[in-house]
Symmetry: D3
Subunit: 334 residues, 6 copies
Amino acid sequence: MSRPITLFTGQWADLPFEEVARLAGEWGFDGLEIACWGDHLDPQRVVEDDSYLQGKLDILEKHQLSVHAIANHLTGQAVCDDPIDERHRDILSPAVWGDGEPEGVRQRAAEAMKTTARAAARLGVKTVTGFTGSSIWKCVAMFPPASDAMIERGYQDFADRWNPILDVFDEVGVRFALEVHPSEIAYDYWTAKRTLEAIGPRESFGLNFDPSHFIWQDLDPVMFLQDFADKIFHVHVKESVRQLNGRNGRLGSHLPWADPRRGWDFVTAGHGDVNWEPIFRTLNAIGYEGPTSIEWEDAGMDRMVGAPQALRMVRELAAIRPPAAAFDAAFATR
Amino acid sequence: MSRPITLFTGQWADLPFEEVARLAGEWGFDGLEIACWGDHLDPQRVVEDDSYLQGKLDILEKHQLSVHAIANHLTGQAVCDDPIDERHRDILSPAVWGDGEPEGVRQRAAEAMKTTARAAARLGVKTVTGFTGSSIWKCVAMFPPASDAMIERGYQDFADRWNPILDVFDEVGVRFALEVHPSEIAYDYWTAKRTLEAIGPRESFGLNFDPSHFIWQDLDPVMFLQDFADKIFHVHVKESVRQLNGRNGRLGSHLPWADPRRGWDFVTAGHGDVNWEPIFRTLNAIGYEGPTSIEWEDAGMDRMVGAPQALRMVRELAAIRPPAAAFDAAFATR
Amino acid sequence: MSRPITLFTGQWADLPFEEVARLAGEWGFDGLEIACWGDHLDPQRVVEDDSYLQGKLDILEKHQLSVHAIANHLTGQAVCDDPIDERHRDILSPAVWGDGEPEGVRQRAAEAMKTTARAAARLGVKTVTGFTGSSIWKCVAMFPPASDAMIERGYQDFADRWNPILDVFDEVGVRFALEVHPSEIAYDYWTAKRTLEAIGPRESFGLNFDPSHFIWQDLDPVMFLQDFADKIFHVHVKESVRQLNGRNGRLGSHLPWADPRRGWDFVTAGHGDVNWEPIFRTLNAIGYEGPTSIEWEDAGMDRMVGAPQALRMVRELAAIRPPAAAFDAAFATR
Amino acid sequence: MSRPITLFTGQWADLPFEEVARLAGEWGFDGLEIACWGDHLDPQRVVEDDSYLQGKLDILEKHQLSVHAIANHLTGQAVCDDPIDERHRDILSPAVWGDGEPEGVRQRAAEAMKTTARAAARLGVKTVTGFTGSSIWKCVAMFPPASDAMIERGYQDFADRWNPILDVFDEVGVRFALEVHPSEIAYDYWTAKRTLEAIGPRESFGLNFDPSHFIWQDLDPVMFLQDFADKIFHVHVKESVRQLNGRNGRLGSHLPWADPRRGWDFVTAGHGDVNWEPIFRTLNAIGYEGPTSIEWEDAGMDRMVGAPQALRMVRELAAIRPPAAAFDAAFATR
Amino acid sequence: MSRPITLFTGQWADLPFEEVARLAGEWGFDGLEIACWGDHLDPQRVVEDDSYLQGKLDILEKHQLSVHAIANHLTGQAVCDDPIDERHRDILSPAVWGDGEPEGVRQRAAEAMKTTARAAARLGVKTVTGFTGSSIWKCVAMFPPASDAMIERGYQDFADRWNPILDVFDEVGVRFALEVHPSEIAYDYWTAKRTLEAIGPRESFGLNFDPSHFIWQDLDPVMFLQDFADKIFHVHVKESVRQLNGRNGRLGSHLPWADPRRGWDFVTAGHGDVNWEPIFRTLNAIGYEGPTSIEWEDAGMDRMVGAPQALRMVRELAAIRPPAAAFDAAFATR
Amino acid sequence: MSRPITLFTGQWADLPFEEVARLAGEWGFDGLEIACWGDHLDPQRVVEDDSYLQGKLDILEKHQLSVHAIANHLTGQAVCDDPIDERHRDILSPAVWGDGEPEGVRQRAAEAMKTTARAAARLGVKTVTGFTGSSIWKCVAMFPPASDAMIERGYQDFADRWNPILDVFDEVGVRFALEVHPSEIAYDYWTAKRTLEAIGPRESFGLNFDPSHFIWQDLDPVMFLQDFADKIFHVHVKESVRQLNGRNGRLGSHLPWADPRRGWDFVTAGHGDVNWEPIFRTLNAIGYEGPTSIEWEDAGMDRMVGAPQALRMVRELAAIRPPAAAFDAAFATR
């Protein structure tokens, strides 16, 4: 199937996997991008336990859902992060967190990402989406100043920690799609460019395009797609809205989601400032045929309302596909 | 003198203080906002050594310069920061850095800020400008998510560390003006508001208004002045420019200053996106009569060219003062 | 019922009340905001005549409509206006207009507003929406100049005339919601603020939020909701569109509605420049649970087409309500 | 029927006319604007061959379609163009192209336009839409410079070639509606004005309003409708989208349709930057009661999807018609 | 002299005329637009008293100032206004105000305007600038609604009252230039158009162009100049600034000048939102050769600073005049 | 000398060369970009006649002017253009025009460009600026449609005609800088890209950057400089202004320069919409050290006023050069 519409299960991991599969099936999704947390998917068990694997496949089949990618953002985040603190403890599995000593956490996270690649392969899935973490995110905007050397070390640290992981991806024929996202080694256009340079030309490393993070940074999603066309491995349909009024700031003011004092917020796809049609037309133009995966996140709206709404929007956008023959033909006399 | 125009010496601390004083005097500045680094001002010596103090005063007198504020951003930064790392080592005095163990650094920095208050008093200066640092800056935008409790603890940590410092400010009759600035506990409108709530109604705590940090966050400097009118203790005339084009991002992409790929940059006042005239008219309206202190920072321009240019601009703006009598009088018949 | 969707009957008063009720019921409205003109509601008779009152209640019940507010804009307008002229004659009841002597008209209008409060109470309704008029509206923009004293007298006149009226509202436990609107004592953010100061902290006096009047004055409806959150007593869903092209002016050029040379016009909700979703999200955030009352006004569209369209839009917006549990839960491991 | 919604068959002329009529009928169009190319309509045969004419009328009747205009853009283009080259050869009928000698082509095209007028009359149609060509289009923007005299000669050439054609239109009681369009003698507001002056006040010459050409030239469609109200003979519902990002240019870069590097592109009506509602409200205000004819052109979307979508949009817009009575009546007391 | 730069003395009438002339002369103005209030110019005495007239001419000659227009805004305002109240009393001469009975005031004001025409003629001045007042300004934006008949009566009242005045202007060969301005019968583009229709094609009636009133109404000054080119009798160089932030409103909130909460304010020319260069280029294009008269009004700036600043700006703009020969000549080979 | 400021003499060729040199010298220009028309420079004579050459050098020396580039736009234009018509006749030398037969004109123009390269070499100049013409410009925007093959042939025709010319440039060590400009083979970002691909990687072929042509096409000059950094061979300081108001169109409406109805116009540098400071900062960033050549063109302003004004602006911009040492040094403690 070309350009399947999937549901990213990350924001549904408080529900049992089977329940999410049932909902997605009923709403009419084509498939799932399964999150490796909650009870949705444990890569370790996929690798070790055939019956666990079969159980997952059975659920998918029962609800007529395909799977094109699995997601392991939470574990990936810990691979490069510095500092490692309570925020990581709250999202990592006990096995990866262990005693919480930072370097140990990072190394266990790296191993877990290798396992994720192997699990993907066993599931017959070609893409793992996720985060990388970053040792230099804390230098963003901007004091005390970081030296060029420190920035350079940050990219190098990323390459050093991820190249061995990607070797495993290569081995098993799976690709890693980094979600370009604040807090990651690549969070915008130029950091994506430098990240790709840092890791070098590896076929197993590409990007998960998610315009919700571009909108509030004032990045143009279409230019990004055009210029990184051959590295777009996966697409998230997720959205954000700018709420600027001279008082609300771009950086969010440490305020919780859904607080109207934030300068921006995540909202259900179709409710924000992403201009989706040019994005889908550009996906056509660059020949992207992978999943368009709805990542629902909207603290001001119930997901049971928002998710099927977003699906309807993507179905309409998906109908915009170029015709076989050009209309110029209609003018031709010879 | 009302509304003196001063030069902030922070970006000139590689030059000897006397040289900076000579330049400022020649260019026509009214006074200096002296930085507590380089050889410009050592608060410890001001407090301990009368002849050191007199030497500084002599230099100022020689160049006909007044002093209305001293600045200790570098030390203040270490009071709350977490992590404390090489970036701090590079800007702190050896005495404050010591062995670099984070909590020790923070406590020595706090003591040094108390000394700064005492030094200001000895100099006859009513205002210390500076930074506070922040234990929660690293949670900005945005992963892993920070709990509300963690955010709350960040503000509390700030209050716990700064209240004892401010007690000394109260004792000696000096005010601390926090520069609202990314990386600090207050970096925008709402964080400034919450910071003031966290510290409570202390007369010794207020804000250093610097619109260069607001421009790229899309904050309205005039609204800020209006709503925090009674807490504007000091004003920096510093500027930034937005360089957005769909590729350059708001967060700077870890790129060095003066790189045209940055989404924004600092530039000589008068060369960027700050709309100064409404700011100066609002300073009139709210009755601000303190210094307007030129903080020059522009990696693409020589400071020997930029600083006197900025001074000329501020002199012109300073000529915008309301008349004694309203023009309506001209229409009156009785 | 929380957040009922009602139809304001003011623009339908040429039709019999029963006919409007029938239409509203068929279209699916939850209730009515009944106008005190046409045959829709005569406050005097409600107070005096039990069978009249019961007749109205019977009609509402028959069409399964609730009533949460009654509206008396036309009479309220005459309480403070100066001049009083033919425009008032055309909209006032003969009893209030009487001989048309201005001060007499004003006093009879004030008495009629007290009666309106009593009628509301008898109907079991907690809110009366309406206008106040203004003796200083004629000083708007801007010649001959009005003295500060004249402006001050305008606010004082408002307070003097409305405080006795509000005493009756207090007595009967009903609130008056002033529609912030050009021609009224409060027509924008700062006049709303000063109006609230002039009347003092009375529980019975608040605001009817109607963003259609804000759009063409370039006011931000969301900031208004945030800053006057505790005074939002009622909400009109009404809309306007800016039609600016360098020739059309903000002030309307004395041109009739639906003339494309006007700088702005009222249009059916959903057809103009109001950005409704942030308004509804902010209503959620500030905890407003009163009516969202559709005020249809669009000289270029038939109301039989426009009203049900607007209702559909509000139903969709009403579906945006925050979930019981935050999605962060989905990421938690402990 | 007032304001019928028709389908312009120009971009469907690769399909047999009967097939297009069948589709249009099924989708619910009111009628067709029939293109004089493909097998859709041959003016010569209409004039000469009663059975051919009847065959067309039968097809229309069978699918319950009316016809209000016929279109002969391709032939009209050759009347004034200079140079005449392979681009014309590809769109002209062999009879008009002949040996391709430019002046001969122009004269045969002029004769064919007279025949088109006669064919329209025989079909009972009052309007022919089309192009004029231009001998001075090549002088647009801008080197080598054209003299004022050369520009003047261009308008005169247009008048000289079209006045005899329009004499035939007058004779048979048909009007020519020039589509204001780049490449034509009138392509924007001021060239439309000068074109009307050049041709003089002829009742048979007016304009085909098509906002898709205005959007990327930054022209305001509503001002155009207002100022040329009495010359709006026909309306195309066609749309374009601006795709500007600092790299894409207004002039299209010689890139093919649907290439995201173009500065603008044609898209299905409802998918671009035309703000249709003010246009339809202005059509109401100026009393236009002719066809709104959907010209579908979108190289990134299948016409079988796009055309019925556009029809749905126009049906909704068509519901915006002013009511018989003004709502002010609802406020009146006498 | 072509395009003289004059100072409008209206906002200086609290100073003696001789003092204003001295200042204007020293600053380098070419002439004065003399206000008919304060001691600047009393039309009655000009008409009656040769020595008074000569005294004024002597002062002008002494300071090498010409006079091209006299201004009588204050008296003109009372001709049509309704209501007439204390605001008029405060600006009218006691003779015109009399007992303050409205209709008597209006008639005396009309007579005084005839006298002003005669005074202009005696001074050798071709233009009187001023206001007309308006009986329908109070109907602006917008409740209670005014009937079309009432609006029509307002324009008729203007024509009825001003035609006899203009007869005197015709008699003495002087023109009246109405300043298009809120509160007047013409305050924007469409009201200017209708005002000209109401008064009919009289050579003695035209407009005083002042873009400061257009800016905050979002009118395009250049389009106005283009479309009313033959009626531009006089030009004011006056400026305003928009101060919109979502809280400040377009209508000024009844706030005093220089209050930053106003949505707009008058500022010294060169300090606001008027884009002067296209205006001066358009004055060139339409062949306007009358005065450019600086009307200084800025409650936030001293006029002794502002007026000479504005003069410098206009001198620079005045240097933008087309060359005798076109540069195309430079490319010509024959 | 680094970054010399020169005057392009193209728009001054109606004056004798010596007169232009005198003016440029007096105004303080560093040098000239000499146009190969008027009597300014005849390449043929430079090649053939030593005394002619010496005469030119003597004039330059007398006025202390350097020369860094010569310009031959008029001849270059004819190399690829189609059609060749009276517009070319008016700007070509009689020798190149000959009998005006198009192909002959093109070939003589090509030969003349080779001669221009040789003349540049003899003058010691490394750069020839100019135009190429284009056989496909006439296909811009957009009817009748051009086939992809026709576009492809246009680029090929350019390569075929210019490669032999560039061979001569290579031989004599001179570079050709094509001014990216409507009417040329490269007129925007993407056509510049394709032009460079068509000609292949030749060191002798690059671009003359002139932002005046980018502004009205909505191209970002800074992105252009960044992305074509190594091909920026020459820089024109020339400016244009957008004059859009809903009636004026992007394409100029065939109206003459200085007509305010044009959608854009050329104006003296410093008077339009080019944002020069980021351009000069980017020239610093990309290491461009060639001339910044003022091309004055402004039909609404006298060149004797405009040229020295533009020079003053460029001198100020030229003062923006990065300092030797970074200001970060000022914060360092070690």
